[in-house]
């Protein structure tokens, strides 16, 4: 298969296994490109991309921006805090106004689940979901699994543990979808209060004893506790969470084997993971950041390939 089966990247749920393999293959070529002395290609020189961020973001925004610039695209950045959204403009109106200025692709980060899908139904533009509420964060899941794939090769049959705030994490859901597609075994470990209802239906298991779970896994993806999305208290305090579910040297010493450590960031050092583990040799957290640019370049490239060029003659 030489092209994506979708015209937008709304979530992992809409992708097939061959889409993911194509994205990985293309990303590995872009990873070579971004390690050249001159890291830029002119492929998307006739494409304009708008990055619409209705929610705070550091690395995703920078990563998308860099990916777009490395591909030679023109970009405009929009943050809701300094826009007419404050004056009451709706999402669709805002986007249609931006599209009227001949923008080809929209990268959307929005607090409402399903916002990317809504936009894809009401605009002609290509939409890339950069995180919609606690629903999906497909590019993060793709870069996580690409980082795993680089280290573990085939993910089929590999044991991947996800620890942390599953309930509020869009990264968790997208990761579960990707890992299931690639044939990995998925286990979750978190306080039961942070476990979404019916999550077991997604072909995974749950283990509340983190040491047992760590013994089982080949790699662990540690997620942040998302205080900003919590409307009530889900556990007594950070100290207790850290003692029971935080990754530290004591827990890792108990498992007597090397496992890969991932974290999508931002990291709360000392809460979900301690500093020595973040900076250890088994940590591939900075590889994830590098791979993020390559994966986003691949997605934008593959989606742009599907937008046929037209010149008014």
């Amino acid at each position: 298969m030489d092209k994506l089966s979708v015209n937008h990247l709304l979530g992992i749920k809409s992708l097939s296994k061959s889409d993911i393999n194509l994205i990985f293959k293309t990303a590995s070529h872009f990873k070579e490109v971004i390690n050249r002395p001159i890291k830029k290609v002119p492929t998307l020189r006739d494409i304009t991309i708008a990055n619409l961020f209705f929610e705070n973001s550091t690395r995703t925004k920078i990563s998308f921006e860099l990916a777009e610039k490395r591909l030679g695209a023109d970009i405009i950045n929009f943050t809701s805090s300094s826009s007419s959204v404050k004056k009451g403009e709706s999402l669709i109106d805002t986007v249609n106004n931006i599209l009227a200025m001949k923008v080809d692709m929209i990268v959307l980060r929005h607090p409402n689940p399903g916002s990317s899908f809504l936009l894809s139904q009401h605009t002609d533009s290509c939409i890339v979901n950069a995180g919609d509420g606690s629903h999906e964060h497909p590019t993060q899941a793709l870069l996580d699994s690409f980082s795993l794939y680089e280290n573990l090769e085939d993910l089929k049959g590999k044991n991947i543990l996800i620890v942390g705030d599953i309930l509020h994490s869009r990264v968790a859901l997208s990761n579960i979808y990707v890992l299931n597609l690639l044939g990995a075994n998925v286990k979750l470990s978190c306080p039961l209060s942070l476990l979404p209802k019916d999550i077991e239906k997604l072909n995974l298991s749950v283990e509340t004893d983190i040491v047992k779970a760590l013994k089982w896994c080949d790699a662990v993806n540690v997620l942040r506790v998302q205080r900003e999305r919590m409307i009530k208290s889900y556990f007594p305090n950070d100290r207790e969470y850290s003692m029971l579910f935080g990754l530290d040297i004591n827990k890792l010493n108990k498992i007597k084997k090397d496992i890969l450590i991932l974290h999508p960031g931002p990291i709360n050092r000392g809460v979900e993971i301690t500093s020595d583990i973040v900076d250890s040799n088994n940590s591939i957290i900075l590889d994830q950041v590098e791979n993020g640019v390559a994966i986003r370049m691949a997605i934008i490239y593959l989606l742009a390939s599907k937008m046929n060029f037209s010149i008014n003659q």
């Binding site: 030489d2 092209k3 994506l4 293309t26 590995s28 070529h29 070579e32 490109v33 050249r36 002395p37 001159i38 890291k39 830029k40 290609v41 002119p42 492929t43 998307l44 006739d46 490239y301 593959l302 742009a304 390939s305 599907k306 937008m307 046929n308 060029f309």
Partner: protein
Amino acid sequence: MSNKILLDSKKIEIILSRLVYQLIENHKNFENTVLLGLQPRGVFLINKILEIFKRDHSKLKIKSGILDYTFFRDDFRRSEKTLSASSSKIDFSIENKNVVLVDDVLFTGRSIKAAMSSIDTYGRPKSIELLVLIDRRFKREIPIQANYCGAKIDTFKGDRVKVVWGDKLKDNVIYIES
């Protein structure tokens, strides 16, 4: 559809040996020269050329790499098909080097234009030369010519030139499909 053999393995072998001698004439000890095979088909040719260097001129140390120029092509979004990239492998600096691009067939010249743009991302070469096995002359769309050419042929529009590489030099053949 008919196939006409243009060059058999013996002729290809003579041509490849001649091309290697021409390279040696111009680049002497290859101290500041690198050979880059263009993905996908130029990779087969550069491997054959490196085999001959190893067999007949083993004292020469040849630096070589593989270049993919997909992201520099000028036909992105011009067809339904996504342009599928291949890997590049250049483990050395191109800065101030004499670069010889190696490809099997020179046709419109657009691939070579893309490859020349692509090289710039690895540094600024001192010079760029082009080596091709087959030059389909009169089919050029941009002004590009080869410095080293195995054979020049005249073809009709719609003809396809196929270069088939076998495991051994004696299994190689070039034919025209019309």
